[in-house]
Amino acid sequence: MDLEKYRTLFVDEATEHLAEMSNAVTTLEKRPSPDEASAAVDCLFRMAHSIKGMAGSLEYHAPEALAHKLEDWMEPLRDGGEVDAAGIALLYDTVSALENMVRVVSQSGDALDPRPDLIERLSAPPSQRDSAESEPSQRERSGRSAEPRRGSGSDRATDAARPEGPEPAPSPLPPTLRVRAETMDRFLAGVGDLMQRHARVEALVTHVPDFAAQHEIAEELERMEFVARDLQRRALEIRTTPMRHLFERVPRLASELARRLGKRVEVQLGGEEVEVDRAVRGPDRGVPEHLGDAHRPGADLEIQAPLASAHLDRAVVDARPDRSAHFLDADRSRAAADVERELARHPDAHADARPAEEPGQQPPGASVESDAPRVVLHSKVHGRSSRAREVCYRPDLVRVVRPDVE
């Protein structure tokens, strides 16, 4: 058996499965409708089952055992019921542990930590949320529990609206093919070469003495250019992927942050439709698994966050490529505009709240009371498309601005 081939397959497929699992846990955390919850539980069960099988085939016993334990833990939930906060935390911890194991397999193949602590936690059956707690209570609104909410679309924060009525049945996924990156690169290079040769022939055709022949060749070249450009566009579509795939982990980061701070979290995502090179994906994924992770210097990709008003408990992820110093100022002025726009959209927000110039600084007259203290984690990408290959995050700029509460 070609172990290297299967190790690559395992890493690729397990990584995708774990991303789906992470999204499923986020869904469960948001108190979804029964159909959404059922789909999320089914996803978690199937993905754990699949990872178990693949890991077992390659004798990666640690992820096999952990995935098997998770599969057993999920079994009672397949009949319905909501997972409580402790269960959600356990699911996140287990998914994180499996991600770490896959990363180790990908990078070094060292012995895997079997995580007996998680095995033990998963040995207890899941406790389910009291179904009487169907609406967020005042106690929760005051910030005792976390509930990540996700917005999407072109630079607007929107609440995740629940659709009315029965959920439509999910459509089956279209078939896919796996292609090596170098094969894709050679294909793209070939398309580029084709475009260049087309341009060369276009220049040469003007030397054809027969005008009628010249005209006929020029018409064919025009059609050929149309086909070649379409081929180039499709090749780039294969090579690039929407940014939203990089943002998959952001809601989970927000959830982790919310649990640490004991606050509600609002996630605002913008520019998800911007295309980036698929090479940005991979074990590092461009998004830190934990807020303390450090990553490599970035390229054309820019992810920023607003410096929001200090009267709200605020955690800011400020991430940008390592560029010259003036960029930071430009970032802040843009961030300030974002905050102003946000405040204008929410007239109930405190009118005297203004962006802080420096972390920790209280704006004058800022109220320390907040009806719904929240954390904003904002990621926004500019530009039409990017061939960025690396992404930088500045975890040293993560900061929590707390109001002085009497």
Partner: protein
């Protein structure tokens, strides 16, 4: 003549593994399916001699796909692929008409043995 096999498993990893196992055997892989619906439609389209069917798949489960395939062709030769801890489901599949089963992680000799045995049963 090589027996024609359809592989149905939602994990590309597993489909690749089965394909490798069967490469130099008496079995030729003529198609792949990644979910239960596709397994049923590809079975009807390709009319393979055998189908390996994973029990846990998205949408239509392997068991439901098995029943639909057998409803379409009562003589269909189906071998279920299961994982540890799914003994009850395997029994249900056998009672529903599956010829045999293999347990993951796959051992090449066990896979080929199960497919050979299932083919012989079909001939008897």
């Amino acid at each position: 003549m090589r027996r024609r096999v359809l592989i149905a498993d939602d994990a590309a990893f597993m489909r690749e593994m089965l394909r490798d196992i069967l490469r130099d055997s008496d079995f030729e892989v003529v198609g792949e399916a990644s979910n239960g619906d596709e397994a049923v439609s590809k079975f009807q389209e390709l009319t393979p001699d055998l189908i390996t069917l994973d029990i846990v798949m998205p949408g239509k489960s392997g068991l439901d796909a098995l029943r639909e395939i057998l409803a379409h062709d009562a003589c269909a030769c189906v071998v279920m692929c299961s994982a540890l801890g799914q003994e009850a489901l395997v029994m249900e599949a056998l009672e529903s008409g599956a010829r045999d089963f293999v347990v993951k992680p796959f051992k090449p000799e066990q896979v080929i043995g199960a497919l050979t045995k299932a083919t012989q049963k079909a001939q008897d």
